[in-house]
Symmetry: C2
Subunit: 352 residues, 2 copies
């Protein structure tokens, strides 16, 4: 490129004008590059008058520090990697937004990766982020690909996991007790008198939160001498359309359930919609419960019983943990975020 005759030695193509460097600012301000650097990141180390003229030069030139160079010299990227299954799920969007706010306030940026529900793909994303340069990694759940774990220990960067709190977690984590939450939901239904309880959930092999919830569901049933009928377990990921389809499937099965727990509110909403479409009364003919407590679950008709918790809180606490590992003493413990059963209109005692 650049065969032109334009002198000056300057590039012309594609807006790649040479970037303004510390050196340029230094020259204009009549000081050395080190002084400029210090004026910007350790202001107290330079005399006020000098600092002032440096600042003037900076703004005159529109100088913007070069992040990569800074990261290289400082051996710190000021960037946190966050890998989530998908932004389409409100809870993860909330997590990211919350993380971003907290970390941003502490001077860190968020580099985002999407993993779908495939641990293998998650590991790939992690590699990408790692080689892009991150100081810490935030993940969802406690089940991860071996290669990811190895990478994490190799590079020695802190990892924090979210949404699943458990004592034996491999990394510091912040989340809810999914097992207890699953149990609470089913206990509620059992207390209402249900015995034929079904579950609409993601494949537990790819989703350790779902696995824990399912364990809670089974546990609660077992405690009353009941069990989850094989016909009562329908797999499906967290979209409303999926909830509809899964509910349709379920309604055609024998024995027919009197209550359905969904591991996501959107799925529950879809399930309710399907019921209405088939003139199956909720909660008259079948009770439906959701999970996560997204705002919408409260507005539907009927309002949906759910286990609610705050993804925003999870994000905030996760950010705290990350910052503790990075700038603190690294001792901050995992935190359990509370969940609460929200009894609403979509669940009731089973009909006769």
């Amino acid at each position: 490129m650049g065969v032109g005759t334009t002198g000056q030695g300057g590039r012309m193509s594609k807006g790649s004008r040479r970037q303004v460097t510390l050196e340029d600012v230094a020259r204009l301000a009549g000081v050395s590059a080190s002084t400029v650097s210090r004026s910007l990141s350790m202001p107290h180390m330079v005399r006020a008058s000098v600092r002032e003229s440096v600042l003037w030069a900076v703004s005159r030139l529109g100088y913007v520090p070069h992040g990569a160079a800074r990261a290289l010299a400082r051996r710190r990227n000021a960037t946190i990697g966050v890998i989530i299954p998908s932004l389409r799920f409100t809870v993860f969007a909330d997590l990211v937004e919350s993380l971003q706010a907290e970390l941003g306030a502490a001077g860190y940026s968020v580099l985002l990766g999407h993993a779908g529900s495939d641990l293998r793909y998650e590991a790939d994303q992690a590699t990408a982020l790692l080689s892009r340069g991150i100081d810490a990694l935030v993940l969802v759940g406690n089940a991860h690909d071996q290669s990811l774990e190895r990478m994490a220990t190799n590079t020695g960067i802190p990892v924090v996991t979210t949404f699943d709190y458990r004592l034996d977690a491999p990394y510091p984590c912040v989340g809810i007790d999914n097992q207890a939450a699953g149990r609470a939901l089913v206990d509620h239904l059992l207390d209402l008198g249900h015995t034929r309880i079904a579950a609409l959930m993601p494949d537990e092999r790819f989703n350790d939160r779902a696995a824990r919830r399912l364990a809670g569901v089974r546990g609660a049933l077992a405690d009353r001498g009941l069990a989850l009928h094989p016909q009562h377990l329908v797999l499906g990921d967290g979209a409303a359309e999926v909830g509809r389809a899964a509910m349709a499937e379920l309604l055609g099965r024998e024995p027919s359930p009197s209550a359905v727990v969904c591991f996501s509110d959107l799925v529950a909403i879809g399930a309710v919609v399907e019921c209405r479409a088939r003139a199956v009364s909720v909660p008259g003919a079948v009770s439906v419960a959701g999970f996560s407590g997204i705002g919408l679950a409260e507005l539907t008709h009927p309002a949906i019983t759910t286990v609610s918790f705050s993804a925003v809180d999870i994000g905030r606490e996760a950010a705290r943990l990350v910052l503790d590992r990075l700038d603190g003493d690294g001792q901050a413990p995992s935190v359990e975020v509370p969940h609460r059963l929200e009894q609403r209109a979509s669940t009731a005692a089973p009909g006769p």
Copy 2:
């Protein structure tokens, strides 16, 4: 630091084991650093046998390239900045996810910033991303703070805007024609026979998409000799709860509207919920229309009439534009993403 007596010269604190470098790999593979570098990024330039032993050394050492160093040397970050109002809005989450997928496939990562609805804050985020090192910037809408625009031209990085297509856009853009969309929605209501039409929308001063839609609304009304009654304009940002509140407000006003257009589907959902709570029939007593075509709008009862478009398409096209500016010939033109009026059950001819 490190006053300890542990030999080896190795650091011990906080997992900051010295990072494995190209040099280390080179030594183990018995070649020079350049060869390792080339083996990894220009494989065809190195003999297969050599490459193989390099790769072996790489995996043995668990070498991960240092992004900052690479970015510094290459003068390219392989990172794209994306600033959106908030992830809480489905459309923006879809945008980000789509962008991330497309850009990721091309080897770029996404650095995320949230701007709320404040242009000033957006500019701050842009500064942060810029100094973190990005090769291009994706924004929402075509109205931005002057300082942001100055920064963009100064640094010369490509900017692509989304969600608002217009011929006079300052940067290449991809989005819908918001004015036409607003007009289409109101024309639909006018065709049904409505004359008292209200709008629930964000403050147009902070949201140029809303401003354009409003222009469309006013235009459509004017064409039929009508106008938006001042009492019929209620401000409120895009959450369902806000829609409820705004609808409550609106129902108390005189003259009472016979139809309400909401500039977001969630707001429309909230509005419908509020109507039900007050036993105001939709569409019997009042028609309600939404905007964006999120999946949920189809599942509510009644299903909500809306102008739908694909945020995923916008993301994909925006990614194309970015890549064109970065790796292509930079000639790819702005693209208008189509919108479509989805007539559903929430709108009907006004009652007597």
